[in-house]
Symmetry: C2
Subunit: 569 residues, 2 copies
């Protein structure tokens, strides 16, 4: 479909009322997508075309990385999920259903179980390994709060890949191949992004994992990045710089501990506002329940506890903040006045706390705090560890340069799963010695519909979307100023034919609209090259403009062809 008069691409002048993210606004306004239900979207022809271009890029890079395409079912027997142990763990995000024969199924949010069962069934000998399989397929997740258009949805297109190896070294090779393929994919999408270290979370696996983050203000993830050495991690994972074990001698307090009256000061903010205490002088004592046992966790007043790190530190499956009753039981005081002095539960201190010369802490008594408390002298820590979120300006754990904090959208994720699934599902191959061994697995995901939105989050201006050429639904937009002018129509048609002949997808705005309307729609839709055929059409001269630049050049057909060939590679 090359004629805009026939293209099903309803554009809107106004932003839809409920659209917060810029990609949500623009993809709706430019006629790429429409919402069917919360977190469930239809892709209209422009959206489908752009999505197919992403699929093509992904397929090319997957094949180049040695992955083979498969297509696995969305309907997954619950039995498989029970085998892996995830059926109950996955929670309400997993859509469950029952068929007419009362068999239970899950609608696949991911395919580790299915692929592990398949490969286990079909590959028995080490000689057939390694193998790397991928698919581009629709996933279902019952998001608690779908929002931001295509960024967080219940149904979406995903590229998921899985590698099966006989060794960790083999896994490292495949992981690296995928890691590089992801870089190429996102580069071809014209994105500014960074691969950062991450926590494995619900997918699990013991071997390390990277998230690919597209930088965007609207991103729901926080990234800490070092511009000096290239280190990057999401906030769950980012390591605090290895600290001094304790405060230097000359910093240790020479004062004795002293209780003082601090009425109505349950928060760090209260202590600052009412008593002028700086947050970095104060230590927060958080009571956590880790697998039902209480722990006191100390972090500096200007820091936030990091529960992902704490789970690892405490080796806990479940971790929750204690409720008021549990706090009183542990501290004999109401919430807001907990402190480490005299506490008889394990005390875990963040590195930054252990390095303090003296600190102000809660007194385990309503409306009282204690000052001049010296770590080591007045309080003994059960454990000292990295328990907090790293923040902007902290030292890089690799090179000690200053870290910067940025917002990002997760567009890809690579995991070294190791034997997590092959162990739980007893998926094995026979090695050279004739012994059964679990597959060493990796998994690798890209949210394809989300990727489409992430590109828009980075590439737009006040007038609309600015597509990179490889992703644009059409590369060239030919716009006659007036469809009533026969010369303009004839020249436009010639341009369309020549560009199509050269292998480009061309959209011809043959609508009987005012020129201003056409230009507004063209900016909104965001194709890389615009060719306006106007008054000088009789001389074979048109105006060529790139969407990402304000320059307008006058040129003839042959020049335009070579110009575009040059610009679009």
């Amino acid at each position: 479909m090359t004629k805009q008069s026939q293209l099903f691409a309803p554009t809107l002048r106004e932003n839809p009322a409920d659209a917060e993210a810029i990609s949500h606004q623009l993809l709706i306004r430019a006629g790429y997508i429409r919402q069917l239900s919360a977190g469930v979207y239809s892709l209209l022809p422009l959206g489908r075309r752009a999505l197919r271009r992403l699929e093509t890029i992904i397929r090319e890079e997957m094949e180049a990385a040695g992955a083979q395409e498969v297509l696995l079912p969305a309907l997954q027997p619950a039995e498989l999920w029970r085998q892996s142990g995830r059926y109950n763990v996955y929670g309400p995000e997993l859509i469950r259903l029952t068929d007419r024969n009362s068999r239970e199924f899950a609608l696949g949010p991911t395919h580790e179980e299915v692929i592990t069962a398949l490969v286990d069934q079909e590959i028995s000998a080490y000689r057939k390994l390694p193998v790397m399989l991928y698919q581009i397929q629709t996933k279902f997740r019952d998001e608690r709060r779908p929002r931001f258009g295509l960024l967080r949805v219940k149904e979406f297109l995903m590229k998921d890949a899985y590698s099966f190896d006989t060794s960790w070294e083999g896994l490292a090779v495949n992981y690296d191949a995928m890691y590089k393929a992801y870089h190429r994919i996102f580069e071809r999408c014209g994105l500014r992004f960074k691969a950062v270290e991450a926590d494995a979370g619900a997918i699990g696996g013991e071997g390390g994992t990277h998230e690919f983050m597209a930088f965007a203000e609207s991103g729901e993830d926080t990234i800490l990045a070092c511009d000096s050495c290239g280190y990057g991690a999401n906030v769950e994972k980012a390591e605090a710089d290895a600290p001094a074990a304790s405060a230097a001698d000359d910093q240790v307090s020479t004062h004795h501990m002293e209780k003082f009256h601090t009425p109505d000061t349950r928060t760090i903010q209260d202590l600052h506002d009412k008593l002028g205490l700086r947050p970095e002088q104060v230590v927060k004592t958080l009571i956590y329940m880790a697998d039902n046992r209480p722990y006191a966790v100390l972090v500096r007043g200007d820091h936030e506890a990091n529960e992902t790190k704490l789970k690892h530190v405490l080796d806990a499956e479940e971790l929750t903040l204690a409720d008021a009753e549990q706090v009183r039981l542990a501290t004999n005081a109401p919430v807001g006045f907990a402190g480490p002095v005299g506490l008889n539960i394990p005390i875990v201190a963040d590195y930054a706390v252990a390095a303090m010369g003296e600190m102000i802490v809660g007194a385990n008594e309503q409306d009282y705090h204690i000052r001049h408390v010296a770590p080591g002298r007045d309080v003994r820590f059960t454990q000292v560890a990295d328990c907090r979120n790293v923040i902007h300006g902290d030292a890089c754990p690799r090179c000690r340069a200053s870290l910067s904090e940025r917002r990002g959208i997760e567009i890809g994720h690579v995991f070294k799963l190791g034997t997590k699934y092959s162990d739980s599902m007893q998926a094995t191959y026979i090695d050279e010695q004739g012994e059964a061994q679990p597959f060493i697995m990796g998994c690798y995901g890209i949210g394809v519909t989300r990727l489409l939105a992430a590109i828009v989050e980075q590439r737009y201006d006040e007038n609309g979307i600015i597509w990179p050429a490889e992703v644009a639904p059409f590369q060239v937009h030919v716009i006659p100023v007036s469809m009533q002018d026969e010369t303009q129509v004839a020249v436009s048609t010639e341009f369309v034919q020549r560009f199509r002949g050269a292998g480009y997808d061309v959209l011809l705005d043959d609508r009987d609209e005012r020129f201003g309307v056409k230009l507004k729609d063209a900016d909104l839709i965001g194709l890389p090259i615009r060719i306006v055929v106007g008054k000088t059409a009789g001389d074979g001269i048109v105006e060529l403009k790139q969407r990402d630049s304000s320059d307008v050049s006058k040129m003839k057909l042959e020049e335009a062809i070579s110009f575009v060939a040059e610009k679009l590679r």
Copy 2:
């Protein structure tokens, strides 16, 4: 992936135990598919490649027919299905589920509701019409009895298209465009098929419909086709030749009715076996409940009643055979002895019955029949109509030549829906006079995964699949006799590179298997061109064989390239 040693394509020597259909057997054995659960299949790399080729053919022909690609969600709000009135009608085939907020959804078995709501929302003016949209997307149907591999499944890839017009004439144009596109698609798939008239069934619509049937012994559908004039219809729809209104005068019985004793003869077969009566002398009296009212339906002993036709004849929503109690109530006799004489419920006679001079019928009394019963004289029919299945040898309703009966697999279906959905969902546009008018719709489906299986049902021999070049996962299969022979390996590699350079997908059997095993696998997988590199490799000479022929030709590289270019167009 071009190296067979790395290809994930597990082949089997034996047919899987439960596979009845030839396509099921071969697609499993050749490593194209694997079952995950009843009616739920994974496509392995060879299957995925073949499926993608089908997708490409379909996309090309859809675009050529003026359809625009979209991608609609599988998660469909139940509310939409209630609007169209299908939520309850669709029955247990519709998979229903509830999200975490207790909102009801259907997993789309088809997308009339979603597309109608979308187009209604986005197109308000006649100027934007017609529009034709299509998608290639996964459908879900909870089949009562999934079987035959990919032929009847719960989850499958479908191409569905929908047209929206302002007039029936416009619909006819789009319908015709799709009808022709379907012909081109199935021709490119190398299929023997026929477009036949069909009944609209559950999709509904008043404007006519054609099914595209691929001929196959394993087909679940029966087609009546006329080789003389080209008429074709499925058995539900095929019309009996317009009959004489009643028997010719000289055929009418001169005997009086006579009751006779027929012990233990509840069936036509019994009457034949025990009393020597020919089926075509006897008339079956079937008691049907149509919307809860009883009807007697008369068909000749050698004919079968056609319930689809009966529903139309009786204008009934629901039609079921009466149970024993209902039969006794209507006839005062047990099942097997019903007859029209003296019956006081409406009597509907098939044309062929009305044309009989005399007939043998049940006596409404256990173990008795009546002979010499003359239509008109002894029995009056409430209605005479076409009520039976047409059979092999019946006259063509168009040209009176003899019809032949064949088995077929439904691979495509085109419907003139008219206003069925736009009426029920109140989907309208504004016409030139400013009046709201319902969209005139058509819908057009191809079961893409089923199409893959249908091709195999027609194209195989005792050794395996015989793919047409456009659908084959690879076009050229290069097989060195021995991977230990350096010359063979070098020549094979050269062939692979040259053929890839010429734009073909090439599979290289680089496995260290015996040559016999390689050939067996090659036949099974079924690629169109096989190139064996053996002893004469040193002279640059290879053996070229087409999968669909037994001829083997010796040739050099350049000859092979031109030969293949010629054969594969």
